[in-house]
Symmetry: C2
Subunit: 338 residues, 2 copies
DNA sequence: CTGAAAGCGCTTACAG
DNA sequence: CTGAAAGCGCTTACAG
């Protein structure tokens, strides 16, 4: 920061006419270990205090080769799912003395790549990443370079990276099965157009549940783009419910899809759960205030974020091999699922 | 990061048998300015490329005395109001080549102080802070040190710091006036127990509106603590509406208070707006799905965050004196206010 | 017990 | 046009 009154160890050393080393030892509480003379130590402490000395973490980082910083790349920090994860990561990281630098990729490979480079240039000690489509190669090179890395929310099949994710297949399998048991047959799944495994698994969970109950002919998946999800969902829901189609239920694959869907359902005045049962994903205050409180698939976010931080720290310390964690979802049942 | 394959300018220079200076010049696009020989420049570029050279931002920061990093201290990054601000700050900062490091203070002075110190130690070039109670002295010392600083959402009266805030007085004055014009007399305001000016101003706006319409005898303010807001609000709403009290409307002073209040209103089955009119603050998806879509005071978050980043950059560049921005609120009227 | 010195990876006057 | 060198603020062997 180079602030006017910024004072360095050298300044203190000069003033006290001792070596910089001594000041450094005292600063870092190594006065015993390094056998610094008691009077000198006291003098140095006093001076440090009086000058309100603030260590320069940048210099320390350069020297130590460690910034005590974790880079966090999410899709969008304004999305409550990710901001909640970020908050938990922040608190957990702080326990280990780490600070978080974040960035939002918007599911965009170019932004994602830029973000990884920015954070690596800034020498973060490790990276927690919600990977987006098209960054496989970049991620692969990180793994090859042995950059401490943990993927969160999604993983890249075949990539030997640490990750902590939900059992997305089971999540949608359970949710869909629940709807089927409630007598629903024409269950429509809303997902994002994406080749990423978490989306594929969610879809597969739904499909397999349908197949298991011989409802393969009723499988119907609406895949929407990230950019115009709102419009596409509204059009789809509008079309599905205005014609002669028989539709029993909607299953949404993410929280943003769920919320967007609820806006359409509200606007179109659909009767939930009587006409249409609904199950959402992740949770949201919107789910609680929707006129028919939403049933949803709950992710253990606390566990997910804490585990991610734990894994990244272990990797930074070099004490850990690859570790891949799959967490259990929880189906929270309320009114909307019938 | 000290990764195995991490390569430095020195390595490149050695390999090409040129000086580090030359490599640095080429890296920074100063080959013309510094009149680097065309063949050497080409050679160096090629080598930089081939080795996939990644500059060490930490070394550069130490040398330049600038980290190109902005510290952002909010109350809680998981709160949508702040995560939305953070997202806008992120995008805006990126335009200027800056990265954001964030931290959540939880309205806690100790955490807030720690956060400021952590970020300053890390040599952020400037700080955007949502100040919490009890950090006045610390903030004052930052101003005295000429640390680039902008307060956001709240300011500290008497402190010559930059800030960008809402006209909180007008916001609540307008909201309360609207309720009065709708025929409401017994309007209860919910606020946090806080000595911070934004809260005082919101309360004052409400009070003055009541006084203006000779309703001073109807003024009723419920101030709750940050820790057990939920419990206190529920008890208050429950008591207010279960007895013989006549209550016409609720005015909530923040988005968390609004959402918490809505949970109680929902649980207690109060009829909005017939029994009780409601106006919330900031906006939330909860407001849109509450059975009686909520009227609320809208803050221009986009403008607020962009202005904050603009001000901090100007200060960092040293081109700006103190600048204090007060933004206009907007009263979004829907069903809940009657 | 203490200090002089190297070095982390850069940038940038300065000299030639 | 090019290189040797200082220095940003630290930490840490090393020597005494």
């Amino acid at each position: 920061m180079n602030r006017k009154n910024s004072i360095s160890l050298k300044d203190i050393a000069k003033e006290l006419d001792v070596s910089i080393a001594l000041v450094s030892y005292v600063l870092n509480g190594k006065e015993k270990e390094k056998r610094v003379g008691a009077e000198k130590a006291a003098l140095i402490k006093k001076s440090l205090q009086e000058h309100n000395y603030i260590p320069n973490h940048v210099a320390r980082s350069l020297r130590n080769g460690s910034t005590k910083t974790i880079g966090l790349i999410v899709t969008d920090i304004a999305n409550t799912f990710f901001s909640s994860l970020a908050r938990i990561c922040e608190d957990e990281a702080k326990k280990y003395g780490y600070t978080i630098v974040f960035g939002s990729s918007d599911e965009n490979p170019a932004k994602s790549d830029l973000l990884m480079n920015t954070l690596i240039t800034r020498q973060v000690d490790g990276l927690i990443i919600v990977p987006s489509e098209g960054s496989n190669n970049h991620l692969k090179s990180l793994v090859e370079n042995e950059t401490p890395l943990v993927l969160i929310d999604r993983f890249i099949p075949g990539l030997a990276a640490n990750y902590v994710v939900l059992d997305n297949y089971a999540a949608c399998m359970d949710a869909c099965t629940h709807l089927i048991r409630k007598g629903k047959k024409d269950i429509v799944m809303f997902a994002y157009k994406s080749s990423l495994i978490h989306m594929k698994d969610r879809i597969k969970g739904y499909e397999d549940a349908m197949k298991k109950y011989k409802l393969e002919d009723h499988i119907r998946i609406i895949e929407v783009g990230y950019e115009d999800a709102q419009q596409e969902i509204h059009t789809a829901i509008s079309n599905l419910t205005s014609g002669t189609d028989k539709i029993d239920a909607f299953l949404f694959a993410t929280n943003t899809l769920s919320i967007t869907g609820l806006y359409s359902i509200q606007k179109l005045n659909l009767k939930v759960p009587d006409e249409i049962a609904v199950i959402g994903f992740d949770g949201s205050v919107a789910f609680d205030f929707f006129y028919s409180p939403l049933s949803y698939i709950r992710q253990p976010m606390d566990e997910m974020a804490k585990e991610a931080v734990r894994l990244i720290i272990e990797q930074i310390k070099g004490t850990k091999k690859t570790s891949q964690v799959v967490l259990k979802p929880e189906l929270v049942l309320r009114e909307s699922s019938g």
